[in-house]
């Protein structure tokens, strides 16, 4: 376990924890979505960190670089998918938030009580 790895893991865990904290405790719809975004970004970072190999190079064939030094390309492919999915969820969430604001005149989830929890 190198120090660099610990540092990256701390980054990941900080993002996951704060993201979850925002989602669980904040009352503003858009703020909750920001928390969700932070959580998702943290997970994405984790995926790329997992694929890194010390001293590796980007997995693109270029003259003078041996493919034996490539970092793991598969997690990178997965992250590309995950980033786009996060953006799609965000777009959908924002439009739901806009509708919530129109229906309730507020973004505070405490004041939306048509349906009991």
């Amino acid at each position: 376990m190198s120090d660099l790895g610990t540092l990256y893991y701390i980054n990941v865990v900080a993002m996951v924890v704060i993201g979850l904290y925002i989602v669980l405790t904040k009352r503003n719809v858009l703020k909750i979505l920001i928390g969700l975004d932070i959580l998702g970004t943290g997970v994405n970072l984790l995926i790329v960190v997992i694929g890194y190999i010390e001293g590796g190079t980007a997995p693109i064939y270029t003259a003078g670089i041996s493919p034996a030094k490539f970092v793991d390309p598969l997690p990178q492919a997965l992250v590309l998918t995950a980033i786009v999915i996060d953006a799609a969820v965000l777009a959908m969430a924002i439009s739901i938030a806009v509708r919530l604001y129109r229906e309730f005149g507020t973004l505070d989830v405490r004041k939306m009580r048509l349906l009991k929890w």
Binding site: L4, N11, M15, I18, I34, T41, I60, Y101
Partner: protein
């Protein structure tokens, strides 16, 4: 290593700002900084494709969505 330590500190500060500010636009800017730092991490971790997608989709596009959302609703969190 030094770069990563500085970035980690900035990231954690931005996380706290994003969590605690009542001004949503400030939170969005903080989120943008977080996204940017993560994009730099992606670049450092030898993932240029991901860094590019993160910069374009994860930062710019997400910020655009948030700002459009804020403009159609409210900028400040209620007490």
């Amino acid at each position: 290593m030094i770069i990563e330590i500085i970035l980690t500190i900035v990231l954690i500060v931005s996380l706290i700002v994003a969590a605690e500010t009542r001004d949503l636009l400030v939170a969005i800017v903080a989120l943008g900084i977080i996204g940017l730092i993560v994009a730099i991490y992606f670049y450092l971790l030898q993932a240029p494709d991901v860094a590019m997608t993160q910069a374009v989709v994860g930062i710019s596009l997400a910020a655009a969505f948030y700002i459009l959302g804020v403009r159609r609703t409210k900028r400040f969190e209620e007490e």
